[in-house]
Protein backbone atom coordinates (compact mmCIF):
# COMPACT_ATOMS: atom_id res chain seq x y z
CA UNK A 1 0.00 0.00 0.00
CA UNK A 2 1.18 3.48 -0.72
CA UNK A 3 2.73 4.97 2.39
CA UNK A 4 1.04 8.32 1.92
CA UNK A 5 -2.45 6.92 2.16
CA UNK A 6 -1.95 5.52 5.65
CA UNK A 7 -3.40 7.59 8.45
CA UNK A 8 -0.78 8.32 11.10
CA UNK A 9 -3.24 7.51 13.89
CA UNK A 10 -6.11 5.15 13.53
CA UNK A 11 -8.46 3.80 16.17
CA UNK A 12 -10.83 0.98 15.38
CA UNK A 13 -13.87 0.30 17.54
CA UNK A 14 -12.29 1.16 20.87
CA UNK A 15 -14.10 0.07 24.01
CA UNK A 16 -13.03 0.95 27.53
CA UNK A 17 -14.62 0.88 30.97
CA UNK A 18 -13.39 2.12 34.34
CA UNK A 19 -14.45 -0.82 36.49
CA UNK A 20 -17.94 -1.58 35.25
CA UNK A 21 -18.76 1.91 33.99
CA UNK A 22 -18.33 1.98 30.22
CA UNK A 23 -16.81 5.27 29.11
CA UNK A 24 -15.76 4.62 25.55
CA UNK A 25 -18.31 2.33 23.92
CA UNK A 26 -17.34 2.17 20.29
CA UNK A 27 -15.08 4.88 19.02
CA UNK A 28 -13.20 4.92 15.74
CA UNK A 29 -11.18 7.69 14.21
CA UNK A 30 -8.37 8.22 11.81
CA UNK A 31 -6.12 11.22 11.47
CA UNK A 32 -3.91 11.77 8.45
CA UNK A 33 -0.41 12.99 9.12
CA UNK A 34 -0.02 16.72 9.16
CA UNK A 35 -3.66 17.20 10.13
CA UNK A 36 -4.87 19.09 13.15
CA UNK A 37 -8.00 17.61 14.66
CA UNK A 38 -10.30 18.65 17.47
CA UNK A 39 -12.16 16.28 19.73
CA UNK A 40 -15.36 17.79 21.06
CA UNK A 41 -18.20 16.53 23.17
CA UNK A 42 -20.11 17.16 26.37
CA UNK A 43 -18.47 16.58 29.76
CA UNK A 44 -18.21 12.87 30.46
CA UNK A 45 -18.60 11.87 26.83
CA UNK A 46 -15.32 9.95 26.94
CA UNK A 47 -12.96 12.41 25.24
CA UNK A 48 -10.14 12.27 27.77
CA UNK A 49 -10.38 8.51 28.00
CA UNK A 50 -10.21 8.21 24.23
CA UNK A 51 -7.12 10.42 24.14
CA UNK A 52 -5.50 8.26 26.83
CA UNK A 53 -6.32 5.16 24.82
CA UNK A 54 -4.71 6.69 21.75
CA UNK A 55 -1.64 7.63 23.81
CA UNK A 56 -1.35 4.08 25.11
CA UNK A 57 -1.80 5.18 28.72
CA UNK A 58 -4.89 2.99 28.93
CA UNK A 59 -5.44 -0.30 27.16
CA UNK A 60 -8.75 -0.79 25.40
CA UNK A 61 -10.78 -3.86 26.33
CA UNK A 62 -11.76 -4.10 22.71
CA UNK A 63 -10.55 -2.60 19.49
CA UNK A 64 -7.09 -1.43 18.54
CA UNK A 65 -5.01 1.69 17.97
CA UNK A 66 -2.64 1.85 15.01
CA UNK A 67 0.23 4.27 14.61
CA UNK A 68 1.35 4.52 11.02
CA UNK A 69 -0.32 1.18 10.39
CA UNK A 70 1.45 -0.62 13.25
CA UNK A 71 -0.62 -1.76 16.24
CA UNK A 72 0.25 0.42 19.22
CA UNK A 73 0.64 -2.62 21.47
CA UNK A 74 3.49 -3.82 19.25
CA UNK A 75 5.49 -0.61 19.69
CA UNK A 76 7.93 -0.54 22.60
CA UNK A 77 7.34 2.12 25.25
CA UNK A 78 10.35 4.25 24.42
CA UNK A 79 9.68 4.01 20.71
CA UNK A 80 6.12 5.13 21.40
CA UNK A 81 7.44 8.12 23.30
CA UNK A 82 9.35 9.21 20.20
CA UNK A 83 6.20 9.03 18.09
CA UNK A 84 3.37 10.12 20.40
CA UNK A 85 3.40 13.06 22.76
CA UNK A 86 0.65 13.45 25.31
CA UNK A 87 -0.27 16.72 26.97
CA UNK A 88 -2.29 16.06 30.13
CA UNK A 89 -4.76 18.53 31.56
CA UNK A 90 -2.49 18.90 34.55
CA UNK A 91 0.77 17.09 35.18
CA UNK A 92 0.70 16.87 38.96
CA UNK A 93 4.19 18.32 39.32
CA UNK A 94 4.74 19.10 42.98
CA UNK A 95 8.47 19.80 43.00
CA UNK A 96 9.63 23.26 41.95
CA UNK A 97 11.26 22.12 38.70
CA UNK A 98 12.21 24.98 36.42
CA UNK A 99 10.22 25.20 33.19
CA UNK A 100 13.26 24.29 31.08
CA UNK A 101 13.82 21.17 33.21
CA UNK A 102 10.24 20.08 32.53
CA UNK A 103 10.57 20.73 28.80
CA UNK A 104 13.87 18.84 28.75
CA UNK A 105 12.14 15.70 30.04
CA UNK A 106 10.56 15.64 26.58
CA UNK A 107 14.01 14.77 25.23
CA UNK A 108 14.44 11.72 27.47
CA UNK A 109 13.19 9.19 24.87
CA UNK A 110 16.22 10.18 22.82
CA UNK A 111 18.91 9.98 25.50
CA UNK A 112 20.43 7.00 27.23
CA UNK A 113 19.67 5.67 30.69
CA UNK A 114 22.79 7.16 32.22
CA UNK A 115 23.24 10.35 30.26
CA UNK A 116 22.03 13.87 30.72
CA UNK A 117 20.56 15.87 27.86
CA UNK A 118 22.98 17.25 25.29
CA UNK A 119 23.42 20.87 24.29
CA UNK A 120 21.38 20.09 21.21
CA UNK A 121 18.55 18.82 23.40
CA UNK A 122 18.70 22.05 25.36
CA UNK A 123 18.45 24.05 22.19
CA UNK A 124 15.45 22.04 21.02
CA UNK A 125 13.79 22.54 24.41
CA UNK A 126 14.39 26.28 24.32
CA UNK A 127 13.14 26.52 20.75
CA UNK A 128 9.97 24.68 21.79
CA UNK A 129 9.35 27.18 24.59
CA UNK A 130 10.19 30.03 22.27
CA UNK A 131 7.74 28.84 19.61
CA UNK A 132 4.99 29.32 22.19
CA UNK A 133 6.39 32.70 23.16
CA UNK A 134 7.29 31.32 26.57
CA UNK A 135 11.11 31.42 26.54
CA UNK A 136 11.06 33.95 29.35
CA UNK A 137 9.61 31.27 31.66
CA UNK A 138 12.62 28.96 31.19
CA UNK A 139 14.17 29.40 34.64
CA UNK A 140 11.06 29.99 36.70
CA UNK A 141 9.84 27.19 38.99
CA UNK A 142 6.73 25.71 37.38
CA UNK A 143 5.01 25.49 40.76
CA UNK A 144 4.97 29.27 40.83
CA UNK A 145 3.57 29.78 37.33
CA UNK A 146 -0.05 30.51 36.50
CA UNK A 147 -2.16 27.68 35.10
CA UNK A 148 -1.98 29.08 31.60
CA UNK A 149 1.80 29.33 31.75
CA UNK A 150 1.97 25.77 33.03
CA UNK A 151 -0.07 24.64 30.04
CA UNK A 152 2.38 26.34 27.72
CA UNK A 153 5.26 24.54 29.44
CA UNK A 154 3.53 21.17 29.07
CA UNK A 155 2.82 21.79 25.38
CA UNK A 156 6.43 22.86 24.91
CA UNK A 157 7.54 19.56 26.43
CA UNK A 158 5.40 17.72 23.89
CA UNK A 159 6.93 19.75 21.06
CA UNK A 160 10.42 18.98 22.36
CA UNK A 161 9.55 15.30 22.05
CA UNK A 162 9.50 15.82 18.26
CA UNK A 163 6.67 13.35 17.88
CA UNK A 164 4.65 12.34 14.83
CA UNK A 165 1.44 12.72 16.80
CA UNK A 166 0.49 15.14 19.55
CA UNK A 167 -2.49 14.32 21.75
CA UNK A 168 -3.62 17.24 23.86
CA UNK A 169 -6.19 17.14 26.63
CA UNK A 170 -7.71 20.62 26.81
CA UNK A 171 -4.42 22.41 26.21
CA UNK A 172 -6.07 25.81 25.93
CA UNK A 173 -8.48 25.66 28.86
CA UNK A 174 -6.50 28.12 30.97
CA UNK A 175 -5.02 30.19 28.17
CA UNK A 176 -6.00 33.74 27.41
CA UNK A 177 -7.20 34.68 23.94
CA UNK A 178 -3.79 35.72 22.70
CA UNK A 179 -2.11 32.53 23.88
CA UNK A 180 -4.93 30.40 22.49
CA UNK A 181 -4.29 31.81 19.06
CA UNK A 182 -0.57 31.39 19.60
CA UNK A 183 -1.02 27.75 20.54
CA UNK A 184 -3.28 27.16 17.55
CA UNK A 185 -0.78 28.82 15.27
CA UNK A 186 2.12 26.85 16.75
CA UNK A 187 0.27 23.57 16.23
CA UNK A 188 -0.55 24.55 12.68
CA UNK A 189 3.05 25.52 12.00
CA UNK A 190 4.43 22.27 13.40
CA UNK A 191 1.89 20.30 11.40
CA UNK A 192 2.75 21.96 8.10
CA UNK A 193 6.49 22.23 8.64
CA UNK A 194 7.13 18.86 10.19
CA UNK A 195 4.06 16.83 9.40
CA UNK A 196 3.00 16.43 13.03
CA UNK A 197 -0.59 15.34 13.42
CA UNK A 198 -2.36 16.85 16.42
CA UNK A 199 -5.58 15.95 18.14
CA UNK A 200 -6.82 18.19 20.89
CA UNK A 201 -9.80 18.17 23.16
CA UNK A 202 -11.44 21.55 23.35
CA UNK A 203 -14.62 23.29 24.39
CA UNK A 204 -13.70 26.46 22.54
CA UNK A 205 -15.73 25.99 19.36
CA UNK A 206 -15.19 29.50 18.05
CA UNK A 207 -11.49 28.85 17.70
CA UNK A 208 -11.96 25.70 15.70
CA UNK A 209 -12.64 26.44 12.10
CA UNK A 210 -9.59 28.59 11.70
CA UNK A 211 -7.39 26.20 13.65
CA UNK A 212 -8.30 22.66 12.71
CA UNK A 213 -8.86 20.51 9.65
CA UNK A 214 -11.10 17.92 11.22
CA UNK A 215 -13.56 17.77 14.07
CA UNK A 216 -14.48 14.57 15.88
CA UNK A 217 -17.63 14.80 17.97
CA UNK A 218 -18.23 12.29 20.75
CA UNK A 219 -21.38 11.50 22.65
CA UNK A 220 -21.83 8.76 25.25
CA UNK A 221 -18.58 7.11 24.31
CA UNK A 222 -19.33 6.97 20.60
CA UNK A 223 -18.14 9.03 17.69
CA UNK A 224 -21.30 10.58 16.29
CA UNK A 225 -19.90 12.99 13.76
CA UNK A 226 -16.64 13.40 11.91
CA UNK A 227 -15.94 16.05 9.36
CA UNK A 228 -14.48 19.38 8.45
CA UNK A 229 -15.45 22.40 10.57
CA UNK A 230 -18.02 23.48 7.95
CA UNK A 231 -19.80 20.15 8.38
CA UNK A 232 -19.66 19.69 12.14
CA UNK A 233 -20.12 23.30 13.24
CA UNK A 234 -23.78 23.29 12.29
CA UNK A 235 -26.86 23.84 14.42
CA UNK A 236 -28.27 20.36 14.18
CA UNK A 237 -24.98 18.52 14.71
CA UNK A 238 -23.87 20.57 17.70
CA UNK A 239 -27.32 20.51 19.28
CA UNK A 240 -27.19 16.74 19.19
CA UNK A 241 -23.61 16.59 20.49
CA UNK A 242 -24.32 18.79 23.50
CA UNK A 243 -28.02 17.98 23.99
CA UNK A 244 -28.78 21.68 24.01
CA UNK A 245 -30.05 24.24 21.57
CA UNK A 246 -26.87 25.42 19.88
CA UNK A 247 -26.84 28.11 17.23
CA UNK A 248 -24.08 28.86 14.79
CA UNK A 249 -23.55 31.72 12.44
CA UNK A 250 -20.91 32.26 9.81
CA UNK A 251 -19.43 35.68 9.62
CA UNK A 252 -16.33 36.65 7.67
CA UNK A 253 -15.65 33.03 6.97
CA UNK A 254 -15.67 31.98 10.63
CA UNK A 255 -18.28 30.13 12.60
CA UNK A 256 -19.61 31.70 15.77
CA UNK A 257 -21.28 29.36 18.20
CA UNK A 258 -23.54 30.05 21.14
CA UNK A 259 -26.18 28.21 23.06
CA UNK A 260 -29.72 29.41 23.51
CA UNK A 261 -31.21 29.47 26.95
Amino acid sequence: MDHEELPIVEARNLVFAYGTTPVVRDASLSLPCGAVGALIGANGSGKSTLIRLLAGLLTPSNGQVFIDGVPLVNIALRERAKRIAYVPQSTGIVFPFTAIEVVLTGRSPYSGRFSFESTEDEQIALAALDSLDAAHLAHRPVTELSWGERQLVTVARALAQEPDVMLLDEPASSLDLKHRMQLARALRRHSTERGIAALMITHDLTLLDSAVDLIFAMKWGRMISIGSPEVVLADNVLSDVYDARIRTERRRGRAFVWSEL
Binding site: S30, L77, E79, V102, T105, S108, I226, V237
Partner: protein, 371 residues
Protein backbone atom coordinates in the same frame (compact mmCIF):
# COMPACT_ATOMS: atom_id res chain seq x y z
CA UNK B 1 -31.11 10.00 18.41
CA UNK B 2 -29.84 10.75 15.00
CA UNK B 3 -26.40 9.41 14.24
CA UNK B 4 -24.52 11.26 11.63
CA UNK B 5 -22.53 9.70 8.90
CA UNK B 6 -19.51 8.05 10.44
CA UNK B 7 -16.84 7.38 7.92
CA UNK B 8 -13.53 6.01 9.05
CA UNK B 9 -11.63 7.45 6.16
CA UNK B 10 -12.29 11.12 6.12
CA UNK B 11 -9.48 12.55 4.10
CA UNK B 12 -9.20 16.25 4.18
CA UNK B 13 -7.30 17.88 1.36
CA UNK B 14 -4.12 19.09 2.96
CA UNK B 15 -2.28 21.25 0.54
CA UNK B 16 1.40 20.57 0.25
CA UNK B 17 1.46 17.93 2.99
CA UNK B 18 4.30 15.54 2.94
CA UNK B 19 3.55 12.32 4.76
CA UNK B 20 7.02 10.88 4.54
CA UNK B 21 7.87 11.43 8.17
CA UNK B 22 11.38 10.08 7.92
CA UNK B 23 12.29 13.03 5.75
CA UNK B 24 10.49 15.52 7.89
CA UNK B 25 11.88 14.41 11.24
CA UNK B 26 15.38 14.83 9.90
CA UNK B 27 14.92 18.51 9.53
CA UNK B 28 15.76 19.89 12.93
CA UNK B 29 14.11 23.07 14.05
CA UNK B 30 16.24 26.06 13.34
CA UNK B 31 18.33 26.85 16.38
CA UNK B 32 17.41 30.18 17.82
CA UNK B 33 19.63 33.16 17.46
CA UNK B 34 18.44 34.61 20.70
CA UNK B 35 20.82 33.57 23.45
CA UNK B 36 19.00 32.21 26.45
CA UNK B 37 21.12 30.47 29.06
CA UNK B 38 20.07 26.87 29.49
CA UNK B 39 21.70 26.49 32.88
CA UNK B 40 19.72 27.87 35.74
CA UNK B 41 21.95 30.30 37.63
CA UNK B 42 22.87 29.45 41.20
CA UNK B 43 23.00 25.71 40.60
CA UNK B 44 26.21 23.72 40.79
CA UNK B 45 26.92 21.49 37.84
CA UNK B 46 27.61 17.80 38.40
CA UNK B 47 31.24 18.19 37.40
CA UNK B 48 31.92 20.50 40.35
CA UNK B 49 29.34 19.16 42.78
CA UNK B 50 30.36 15.51 42.98
CA UNK B 51 34.08 16.17 43.76
CA UNK B 52 33.06 18.75 46.36
CA UNK B 53 30.72 16.24 47.99
CA UNK B 54 33.38 13.53 47.95
CA UNK B 55 35.86 15.87 49.64
CA UNK B 56 33.20 16.77 52.21
CA UNK B 57 32.61 13.09 52.90
CA UNK B 58 36.32 12.38 53.35
CA UNK B 59 36.65 15.31 55.77
CA UNK B 60 33.70 14.11 57.82
CA UNK B 61 35.15 10.58 57.90
CA UNK B 62 38.44 12.01 59.23
CA UNK B 63 36.57 14.01 61.86
CA UNK B 64 34.67 10.88 62.85
CA UNK B 65 37.93 8.96 63.20
CA UNK B 66 39.70 11.66 65.14
CA UNK B 67 37.04 12.67 67.61
CA UNK B 68 36.19 10.33 70.46
CA UNK B 69 36.52 9.53 74.13
CA UNK B 70 39.93 7.96 73.65
CA UNK B 71 42.16 10.69 72.21
CA UNK B 72 44.16 9.59 69.20
CA UNK B 73 46.90 11.40 67.38
CA UNK B 74 49.52 10.35 64.87
CA UNK B 75 52.20 10.03 67.53
CA UNK B 76 50.34 7.74 69.94
CA UNK B 77 49.07 5.73 67.00
CA UNK B 78 52.62 4.77 66.08
CA UNK B 79 53.55 3.59 69.53
CA UNK B 80 50.38 2.66 71.42
CA UNK B 81 48.78 -0.70 70.47
CA UNK B 82 45.60 0.23 72.37
CA UNK B 83 45.21 3.37 70.29
CA UNK B 84 45.72 1.26 67.17
CA UNK B 85 43.07 -1.20 68.27
CA UNK B 86 40.63 1.57 69.10
CA UNK B 87 41.14 3.19 65.73
CA UNK B 88 41.11 0.16 63.46
CA UNK B 89 38.85 -2.28 65.33
CA UNK B 90 36.31 0.15 66.78
CA UNK B 91 36.33 3.63 65.38
CA UNK B 92 37.01 2.91 61.71
CA UNK B 93 34.30 0.20 61.40
CA UNK B 94 31.86 2.41 63.21
CA UNK B 95 32.52 5.43 61.02
CA UNK B 96 32.22 3.25 57.92
CA UNK B 97 29.00 1.77 59.28
CA UNK B 98 27.56 5.24 59.90
CA UNK B 99 28.52 6.28 56.38
CA UNK B 100 26.97 3.18 54.83
CA UNK B 101 23.72 3.53 56.79
CA UNK B 102 23.46 7.27 56.20
CA UNK B 103 24.11 6.96 52.47
CA UNK B 104 21.53 4.17 52.23
CA UNK B 105 18.78 5.98 54.08
CA UNK B 106 19.31 9.22 52.16
CA UNK B 107 19.35 7.40 48.82
CA UNK B 108 16.12 5.57 49.65
CA UNK B 109 14.56 8.82 50.87
CA UNK B 110 15.36 10.64 47.63
CA UNK B 111 14.07 7.71 45.57
CA UNK B 112 10.81 7.36 47.49
CA UNK B 113 10.22 11.11 47.29
CA UNK B 114 10.45 10.94 43.51
CA UNK B 115 8.26 7.86 43.34
CA UNK B 116 5.57 9.25 45.65
CA UNK B 117 6.03 12.82 44.42
CA UNK B 118 6.18 14.02 48.00
CA UNK B 119 9.15 15.77 49.62
CA UNK B 120 8.06 14.43 53.02
CA UNK B 121 8.30 10.79 52.03
CA UNK B 122 11.14 8.76 53.50
CA UNK B 123 11.51 5.32 55.09
CA UNK B 124 10.60 6.61 58.54
CA UNK B 125 7.58 8.81 57.69
CA UNK B 126 6.15 6.21 55.29
CA UNK B 127 6.24 3.54 57.98
CA UNK B 128 8.75 1.42 56.07
CA UNK B 129 11.23 1.43 58.95
CA UNK B 130 8.33 0.58 61.27
CA UNK B 131 7.46 -2.44 59.18
CA UNK B 132 11.09 -3.50 59.08
CA UNK B 133 11.34 -3.15 62.89
CA UNK B 134 8.25 -5.29 63.30
CA UNK B 135 9.66 -7.98 61.04
CA UNK B 136 12.98 -7.94 62.88
CA UNK B 137 11.36 -7.99 66.34
CA UNK B 138 9.29 -10.98 65.32
CA UNK B 139 12.44 -12.76 64.19
CA UNK B 140 14.20 -12.02 67.50
CA UNK B 141 11.18 -13.05 69.59
CA UNK B 142 11.01 -16.36 67.76
CA UNK B 143 14.70 -16.85 68.44
CA UNK B 144 15.69 -16.61 64.82
CA UNK B 145 18.68 -14.37 65.44
CA UNK B 146 20.91 -16.77 63.55
CA UNK B 147 22.44 -16.97 60.12
CA UNK B 148 21.29 -19.32 57.43
CA UNK B 149 23.97 -19.71 54.79
CA UNK B 150 25.55 -16.47 55.94
CA UNK B 151 22.32 -14.49 55.67
CA UNK B 152 21.03 -13.25 59.01
CA UNK B 153 17.37 -14.24 59.32
CA UNK B 154 16.75 -10.87 60.88
CA UNK B 155 17.69 -9.19 57.55
CA UNK B 156 15.15 -11.29 55.72
CA UNK B 157 12.41 -10.67 58.27
CA UNK B 158 13.06 -6.92 58.24
CA UNK B 159 13.04 -6.95 54.44
CA UNK B 160 9.62 -8.59 54.34
CA UNK B 161 8.30 -6.17 56.97
CA UNK B 162 9.55 -3.27 54.86
CA UNK B 163 8.07 -4.59 51.60
CA UNK B 164 4.73 -5.19 53.27
CA UNK B 165 4.48 -1.67 54.63
CA UNK B 166 5.66 0.13 51.50
CA UNK B 167 3.13 -1.73 49.38
CA UNK B 168 0.39 -1.12 51.94
CA UNK B 169 1.13 2.59 52.17
CA UNK B 170 1.23 2.84 48.39
CA UNK B 171 -2.12 1.12 48.00
CA UNK B 172 -3.67 3.34 50.66
CA UNK B 173 -2.44 6.59 49.16
CA UNK B 174 -2.92 5.66 45.52
CA UNK B 175 -6.53 6.35 44.82
CA UNK B 176 -8.19 5.29 41.58
CA UNK B 177 -7.15 7.23 38.51
CA UNK B 178 -3.51 7.43 39.43
CA UNK B 179 -3.82 10.39 41.75
CA UNK B 180 -1.50 10.39 44.72
CA UNK B 181 -2.93 12.13 47.73
CA UNK B 182 -0.05 13.67 49.69
CA UNK B 183 -1.96 13.99 52.94
CA UNK B 184 -3.27 10.44 52.78
CA UNK B 185 0.23 9.16 52.12
CA UNK B 186 1.70 10.67 55.27
CA UNK B 187 -1.29 9.72 57.40
CA UNK B 188 -1.07 6.16 56.17
CA UNK B 189 2.65 6.17 57.00
CA UNK B 190 2.13 7.51 60.49
CA UNK B 191 -0.67 5.07 61.25
CA UNK B 192 1.40 2.21 59.89
CA UNK B 193 4.28 3.21 62.15
CA UNK B 194 1.96 3.32 65.16
CA UNK B 195 0.48 -0.07 64.35
CA UNK B 196 3.93 -1.55 63.85
CA UNK B 197 5.22 -0.22 67.17
CA UNK B 198 2.07 -1.46 68.93
CA UNK B 199 2.74 -4.90 67.50
CA UNK B 200 6.35 -4.69 68.63
CA UNK B 201 5.16 -3.84 72.15
CA UNK B 202 2.86 -6.85 72.16
CA UNK B 203 5.67 -9.07 70.94
CA UNK B 204 7.99 -7.71 73.60
CA UNK B 205 5.36 -8.32 76.26
CA UNK B 206 4.78 -11.89 75.18
CA UNK B 207 8.42 -12.76 74.60
CA UNK B 208 10.52 -14.14 77.45
CA UNK B 209 12.63 -11.77 79.48
CA UNK B 210 15.92 -12.27 77.67
CA UNK B 211 14.49 -11.85 74.25
CA UNK B 212 12.41 -8.85 75.27
CA UNK B 213 15.58 -7.18 76.44
CA UNK B 214 17.29 -8.15 73.20
CA UNK B 215 14.45 -6.54 71.22
CA UNK B 216 14.62 -3.40 73.31
CA UNK B 217 18.38 -3.06 72.88
CA UNK B 218 18.03 -3.66 69.20
CA UNK B 219 15.16 -1.21 68.78
CA UNK B 220 17.20 1.61 70.23
CA UNK B 221 19.73 0.81 67.58
CA UNK B 222 23.38 1.50 67.50
CA UNK B 223 26.07 1.85 64.94
CA UNK B 224 28.52 0.28 67.37
CA UNK B 225 30.40 -2.55 65.72
CA UNK B 226 33.59 -4.46 66.38
CA UNK B 227 35.58 -5.28 63.27
CA UNK B 228 34.38 -5.29 59.69
CA UNK B 229 32.49 -8.60 59.53
CA UNK B 230 29.03 -7.10 59.86
CA UNK B 231 29.85 -4.22 57.49
CA UNK B 232 30.83 -6.68 54.74
CA UNK B 233 27.72 -8.76 55.32
CA UNK B 234 25.55 -5.65 54.99
CA UNK B 235 27.30 -4.49 51.86
CA UNK B 236 26.50 -7.77 50.08
CA UNK B 237 22.85 -6.68 50.21
CA UNK B 238 23.21 -2.93 50.09
CA UNK B 239 25.43 -2.57 47.05
CA UNK B 240 22.96 -4.28 44.69
CA UNK B 241 20.19 -2.13 46.16
CA UNK B 242 22.22 1.05 45.58
CA UNK B 243 23.04 0.06 42.02
CA UNK B 244 19.42 -0.76 41.19
CA UNK B 245 18.20 2.60 42.47
CA UNK B 246 20.99 4.34 40.57
CA UNK B 247 20.03 2.54 37.38
CA UNK B 248 16.46 3.79 37.76
CA UNK B 249 17.47 7.41 38.36
CA UNK B 250 16.18 8.53 34.96
CA UNK B 251 12.84 6.79 35.38
CA UNK B 252 12.49 8.25 38.87
CA UNK B 253 13.34 11.68 37.50
CA UNK B 254 10.54 11.41 34.94
CA UNK B 255 8.15 9.94 37.52
CA UNK B 256 8.76 12.90 39.79
CA UNK B 257 7.20 15.10 37.08
CA UNK B 258 3.99 13.06 37.17
CA UNK B 259 2.89 9.51 36.56
CA UNK B 260 1.08 10.06 33.26
CA UNK B 261 3.87 12.29 31.98
CA UNK B 262 6.41 9.61 32.81
CA UNK B 263 4.33 6.93 31.12
CA UNK B 264 3.96 9.04 27.99
CA UNK B 265 7.73 9.60 27.96
CA UNK B 266 8.41 5.89 27.80
CA UNK B 267 8.72 4.90 31.46
CA UNK B 268 7.34 1.51 32.44
CA UNK B 269 5.67 2.92 35.54
CA UNK B 270 4.59 -0.35 37.11
CA UNK B 271 7.94 -2.01 36.69
CA UNK B 272 9.76 1.03 38.05
CA UNK B 273 7.51 1.12 41.10
CA UNK B 274 7.99 -2.57 41.76
CA UNK B 275 11.76 -2.45 41.36
CA UNK B 276 12.14 0.66 43.52
CA UNK B 277 9.92 -0.81 46.24
CA UNK B 278 11.97 -3.99 46.38
CA UNK B 279 15.36 -2.24 46.26
CA UNK B 280 14.25 0.31 48.91
CA UNK B 281 12.85 -2.40 51.17
CA UNK B 282 16.05 -4.40 50.85
CA UNK B 283 18.13 -1.37 51.84
CA UNK B 284 15.82 -0.27 54.66
CA UNK B 285 15.45 -3.85 55.94
CA UNK B 286 19.20 -4.33 56.21
CA UNK B 287 20.01 -0.91 57.69
CA UNK B 288 17.19 -1.13 60.22
CA UNK B 289 18.28 -4.66 61.18
CA UNK B 290 21.69 -3.35 62.07
CA UNK B 291 21.28 0.26 63.14
CA UNK B 292 17.72 0.31 64.39
CA UNK B 293 15.23 2.82 63.11
CA UNK B 294 17.12 6.04 62.40
CA UNK B 295 14.55 8.60 61.34
CA UNK B 296 14.62 11.66 59.12
CA UNK B 297 18.00 11.06 57.44
CA UNK B 298 16.10 10.34 54.24
CA UNK B 299 14.22 13.61 54.69
CA UNK B 300 16.87 16.10 55.78
CA UNK B 301 19.57 15.03 53.35
CA UNK B 302 17.58 15.07 50.07
CA UNK B 303 16.13 18.40 51.17
CA UNK B 304 19.61 19.85 51.54
CA UNK B 305 20.58 18.31 48.20
CA UNK B 306 17.57 19.97 46.53
CA UNK B 307 18.58 23.35 47.90
CA UNK B 308 22.08 22.89 46.51
CA UNK B 309 21.43 21.15 43.20
CA UNK B 310 17.82 21.67 42.21
CA UNK B 311 15.18 19.05 41.47
CA UNK B 312 16.85 16.77 38.93
CA UNK B 313 16.60 13.30 40.47
CA UNK B 314 19.55 12.06 38.42
CA UNK B 315 21.63 14.59 40.35
CA UNK B 316 19.76 14.18 43.65
CA UNK B 317 20.42 10.45 44.02
CA UNK B 318 24.24 10.56 43.96
CA UNK B 319 24.27 13.85 45.88
CA UNK B 320 21.98 12.46 48.60
CA UNK B 321 24.08 9.31 48.78
CA UNK B 322 27.30 11.23 49.46
CA UNK B 323 25.70 13.86 51.68
CA UNK B 324 23.82 11.18 53.64
CA UNK B 325 27.04 9.35 54.43
CA UNK B 326 28.72 12.56 55.65
CA UNK B 327 25.62 13.57 57.61
CA UNK B 328 25.28 10.37 59.60
CA UNK B 329 29.03 10.14 60.26
CA UNK B 330 28.92 13.60 61.81
CA UNK B 331 25.65 12.92 63.66
CA UNK B 332 27.12 9.71 65.08
CA UNK B 333 30.30 11.53 66.12
CA UNK B 334 28.12 14.01 67.96
CA UNK B 335 26.20 11.14 69.57
CA UNK B 336 29.48 9.65 70.81
CA UNK B 337 30.93 12.77 72.35
CA UNK B 338 27.91 14.86 73.43
CA UNK B 339 27.59 13.23 76.87
CA UNK B 340 30.85 11.24 76.90
CA UNK B 341 31.70 8.75 78.23
CA UNK B 342 28.02 7.77 77.74
CA UNK B 343 26.50 7.75 74.27
CA UNK B 344 23.33 9.21 72.86
CA UNK B 345 21.37 7.10 70.41
CA UNK B 346 22.14 8.52 66.97
CA UNK B 347 18.43 8.25 66.07
CA UNK B 348 17.70 10.88 68.73
CA UNK B 349 20.10 13.31 67.10
CA UNK B 350 18.73 12.80 63.58
CA UNK B 351 15.18 13.16 64.87
CA UNK B 352 16.02 16.39 66.70
CA UNK B 353 17.44 17.79 63.45
CA UNK B 354 14.83 16.19 61.21
CA UNK B 355 11.67 17.15 63.07
CA UNK B 356 12.01 20.89 62.41
CA UNK B 357 12.96 20.27 58.76
CA UNK B 358 9.85 18.13 58.37
CA UNK B 359 7.66 20.90 59.75
CA UNK B 360 9.37 23.46 57.54
CA UNK B 361 8.72 21.34 54.47
CA UNK B 362 5.13 20.79 55.52
CA UNK B 363 4.65 24.55 55.58
CA UNK B 364 6.29 24.88 52.20
CA UNK B 365 4.20 22.12 50.67
CA UNK B 366 1.07 24.11 51.37
CA UNK B 367 2.49 26.97 49.36
CA UNK B 368 2.97 25.03 46.15
CA UNK B 369 -0.03 23.87 44.25
CA UNK B 370 0.39 20.81 42.11
CA UNK B 371 0.86 21.57 38.43
Amino acid sequence: MHVYELSAAVVVPLSGQNCDLSVISNSKPASRERAVATRTPGRLSARIAIPVLVIGLVVSLLIGLYVGFHPIDIHTLQTDPIAQAVLFRLRLPRVIMAGVVGASLALVGASLQALFRNALAEPFTLGVSGGASLGASLAIALGLGINVAGVPIIFVAAFFGAVLSVVLVYRLAHSGGGVMLPGALLLAGVVLNLCASACVLVIQYLADYNRALQILRWLIGSLDVVGFGLVWRMLIFLVPGWLILGAYARDLHLLSTGEESAASLGVDVQRTERVVFIASSLIVGVTVSVGGSIGFVGLVVPHAARLLFGQDVRMLLPASFLLGAAFLVLADTLARVAIAPAELPVGAITALLGGPVFLLLLRQQRRYSAM
